[in-house]
């Protein structure tokens, strides 16, 4: 009943809050936005979806004044608006919460909220005033926060709140949210959506950038789909489906489920026993993590990022030092007394596709052929003895490029000039080509176009069927559920449980991700 009422309250008025006509923006040779038309109704939650590189972030960055459009018109509440910088955008009542927070970690919440609108040359004047405003906004929107807390100490969900409060305090009537739920658990996401609905009830217009089809169907009033810099269609959730949206995003029919096959389980390839790990600040990131990884299976690690998965991968790969616990692989045991390192792990048959391919998996300024031996550069494939042989590196790279269909197949090309999908394929090719017994994979399809996603998924399944043990970490729950033989859920550094595939579904895993152990350990 109340739902319908709030719907009526936010009936779109005849003048859209935001109207874009013919917005275009090119970065060098890349046309990030091409002739975009978009209407966003006042007091609605409007979702913009698209793949990586579709141009969504560019579009809203133009709206927020980060970039100037090459062409086109922006109308706000019916009148043309000139937005040259963020100052103009803020003046027009536009606020933005970015994907990567723009907060000063060493400042308090209050100082972060004050920044830019301090209320005078002396801080003392504005402090009390801002405190009052903050309290008022907190109460009104249910966004509790401690103004004197250091932002750097706050958990991610609360940091996001600070960002929202910042925008609201500057009088935002249009709130842009860029991939806001990437860092939230399903539970936190639900609460976040409640806040959005409440804001909508007060007439705030919300633009939600996301690639999560499920969420956009759940909370949005209208959905716009972008592909390759163009706006390809507008739908309302009631008249479309995830399949249709995916098809619009990609341009062809898409298999949302990867092919499954049974685990060819044989012996144990890797054992983790009682791994506990604290970071430099003393925060416990891994808490007594134990599991066995079998040859011929894919063990998927589910969980919102920041719950210890990254640390687990880096620990197993030998990048982080073991503090407590043991790792057993290839007949060797590592622990506090005897530490592993990445080179040693590789020798023992472990390969690692890191979560951050730009910082770890590749050296962007190196040519593809040099990247093709990264981690294996001390071996014969790079050259004999102490020397490296560019010709043999080139041959090796060519082989990888042919086998994994990496385009353009030019070993002399610098890695930064490859697309995201091809970069990831290069990393994967390199690691798989080494013939590992254990493969650690982190976020294999992040920032990768759907064509490459399908290819990568196939490669992982092939690898598993050939007897390799695969540990797959991904924040994409769909991907985990589609590929894994068993699913291990992590929350706050602990293993909540390990569930075999037939019992792994969204509700079960979702509960576990929130820390509630429903399923049994395998």
């Amino acid at each position: 009943m109340s739902d319908r009422l709030s719907q009526e309250q936010s009936e779109p008025t005849s003048v859209p809050a935001i109207r874009l006509r013919g917005i275009s923006k090119a970065f060098g040779a890349v046309q990030a936005n091409a002739d975009i038309d978009l209407d966003i109704a006042t007091g609605s939650i409007h979702g913009i979806i698209g793949e990586n590189g579709a141009g969504k972030s560019t579009l809203v960055s133009i709206l927020y004044g980060f970039y100037a459009a090459d062409g086109g018109v922006i109308e706000i509440d019916g009148s043309t608006a000139i937005i040259r910088n963020s100052s103009d955008a803020i003046a027009h009542g536009i606020g933005m919460v970015h994907q990567h927070f723009m907060l000063v970690p060493t400042f308090t919440v209050l100082e972060n909220v004050m920044l830019g609108a301090e209320g005078g040359a002396m801080l003392s004047a504005g402090r009390a005033e801002t405190h009052r405003e903050l309290e008022k906004l907190s109460r009104e929107h249910g966004l509790e926060i401690d103004p004197d807390a250091l932002v750097g100490d706050l958990p991610v969900g609360l940091q996001q709140r600070v960002e929202i409060l910042k925008a609201l305090r500057r009088g935002a009537r249009v709130l842009i949210l860029d991939e806001p739920t990437g860092v939230l658990t399903p539970d936190e996401t639900d609460r976040f959506f409640d806040i959005l609905r409440a804001l909508r009830g007060e007439g705030v217009t919300i633009i939600l950038i996301t690639h999560k089809l499920r969420e956009v169907m759940e909370v949005c009033d209208a959905i716009s789909v972008m592909r390759n810099g163009r706006m390809v269609g507008n739908r309302s959730p009631s008249e479309t489906s995830r399949e249709e949206l995916a098809e619009m995003m990609v341009g062809r029919k898409v298999l949302l489920e990867a092919r499954k096959s049974d685990a060819a389980s044989t012996g144990v390839a890797l054992t983790a026993e009682g791994l506990t790990w604290c970071d430099v600040d003393g925060v416990t990131r891994l808490n007594n993590v134990s599991f066995e990884l079998h040859a011929g299976e894919i063990l998927g690690v589910a969980g919102v990022s920041g719950n210890g998965q990254s640390e687990l991968l880096n620990l197993l790969a030998g990048i982080l030092q073991v503090q407590t616990g043991r790792i057993r692989i290839g007949g060797h045991e590592f622990g506090r007394a005897r530490q592993a390192n990445p080179a040693l792990m590789r020798d023992l048959g472990l390969a690692h596709v890191p979560e951050d391919r730009h910082r770890r998996g590749l050296i962007l300024n190196f040519e593809a052929r040099e990247n093709a031996v990264l981690g294996y550069h001390n071996g014969l494939v790079a050259g004999a003895g102490a020397f490296i042989n560019p010709a043999s590196m080139q041959k090796h790279c060519q082989r990888l490029m042919d086998r994994f269909d990496i385009r353009p197949p030019n070993p002399r090309l610098r890695a930064r000039n490859l697309s995201g999908g091809n970069q990831q394929k290069l990393v994967l090719a390199r690691e798989i080509d080494a013939g590992p017994n254990v493969l650690l994979v982190g976020q294999p399809t992040r920032g990768v176009d759907i064509g490459a996603i399908e290819f990568i998924n196939d490669q992982l399944v092939d690898l598993k069927e050939a007897g390799c043990a695969v540990l797959l970490v991904s924040v994409k729950l769909d991907e985990i559920l589609a590929l894994s033989d068993r699913v291990m859920v992590m929350n706050a550094g602990r293993v909540v449980g390990i569930v075999p595939r037939d019992r792994a579904d969204h509700p079960t895993i979702g509960l576990m991700m929130a820390g509630i152990a429903g399923g049994a350990a395998a």
Binding site: S86, H100, V104, L123
Partner: protein, 324 residues
């Protein structure tokens, strides 16, 4: 006993005088680096400021004009640094090294062109320099036992730039922590993206920081040539810019600890001059150079982490580029 006291006062007196250019340069470096711009070029700005002050004071006959010239030259060099680092996203370190070498060369080239004295300026007369200022009642209070000389010798009797240098520390503190500009400056050195998304200009704030730094360095240079000294001599900055850099790191980028470091380093220099040629028990004659390099050794030891971590501002040295 009273002799020792007077001796000590003289050393502390010298400490203040020697620490003055360090304090001004260290405050300059502090502001610049808090804003995210590394400043290795303190030495060059110091030298250039010293030359400008002496040259203009000599040519015009007025010390004040010399100070003005020094401040302008310092500001000009800092604009060059800013242009390279902020606008063109060049390497801060390299720009700093360039400015140091440029100043070394340019001061002598212009000096010879103007004065034909091999790079020096002519000796300056009293109006062209800053003399000591006697604080009120210094003479009368001087007779008071113990504390009299403390007032009349140590506290009173410095030239105005010394007092300005000392006053600059609370001023910088106030600026950084009590004003809006200071809040924004600290933000830009830690997380420039926060400034950008708040609708403020990272570039403008950083230029503001380097300009203030340039002016302070110029002032320090003026002190060297027309207050402490009586004219410009080739390479008269003698590494003080680097000692100031060391003091800034030693003080962990906070005004009062940095002042403390400057005073310690000034003290070391004062002692070195005193101990020259004096026989010490056990060690024998201490070469002056050993004492003079103590600030450098101390900084290295600090940086090696033996006095706790010296953590610089998070965005120091990284040009701000909007994420695509």
């Amino acid at each position: 006993m009273p002799d020792l006291w007077i001796d000590l006062l003289h050393i502390l007196d010298a400490t203040l005088r020697l620490a003055t250019p360090l304090i001004l340069c260290a405050m300059a470096g502090l502001i610049s680096e808090r804003g995210g711009v590394i400043d290795i070029g303190l030495e060059g700005k110091l030298l250039a400021g010293a030359f400008a002050a002496a040259a203009v004071a000599s040519l015009s006959g007025f010390a004040m004009l010399g100070v003005l010239a020094a401040v302008l030259v310092g500001a000009a060099l800092s604009l060059v640094h800013g242009f390279a680092c902020i606008t063109h996203k060049g390497e801060h370190i390299i720009s700093g090294v360039a400015i140091n070498i440029l100043a070394s060369g340019l001061t002598v080239v212009v000096g010879i062109a103007l004065f034909q004295q091999g790079g020096q300026t002519p000796l300056l007369g009293p109006e062209e320099r800053f003399g000591s200022i006697a604080l009120p009642l210094a003479a009368t209070l001087g007779g008071v036992p113990v504390f009299g000389p403390l007032y009349s010798e140590l506290i009173s009797g410095h030239n105005i730039l010394v007092y300005i240098a000392l006053a600059s520390v609370p001023a910088v503190y106030f600026l950084l922590y009590r004003t809006t500009f200071g809040l924004r400056l600290r933000a830009v050195g830690e997380a420039p993206e926060a400034i950008d998304s708040a609708g403020l200009s990272v570039t403008r704030l950083r230029y503001g920081a380097v300009l203030i730094a340039g002016c302070l360095c110029g002032l320090a240079g003026a002190y060297l040539s027309i207050a402490h000294g009586a004219g410009f001599v080739r390479e008269m900055s003698a590494g003080k810019g680097f000692i100031a850099l060391a003091a800034m790191i030693f003080g962990k980028w906070r005004p009062w600890p940095v002042l403390f470091a400057c005073l310690i380093f000034g003290f070391l220099e004062a002692i070195a001059a005193r101990l020259q040629g004096t026989e010490m028990p056990v060690i024998g004659v201490v070469p002056v150079e050993m004492i003079l390099v103590l600030p450098y050794i101390a900084t290295v030891i600090l940086l090696a982490g033996f006095f706790g971590q010296a953590i610089p501002p998070r965005a120091l040295g990284t040009p701000y580029v909007k994420e695509r």
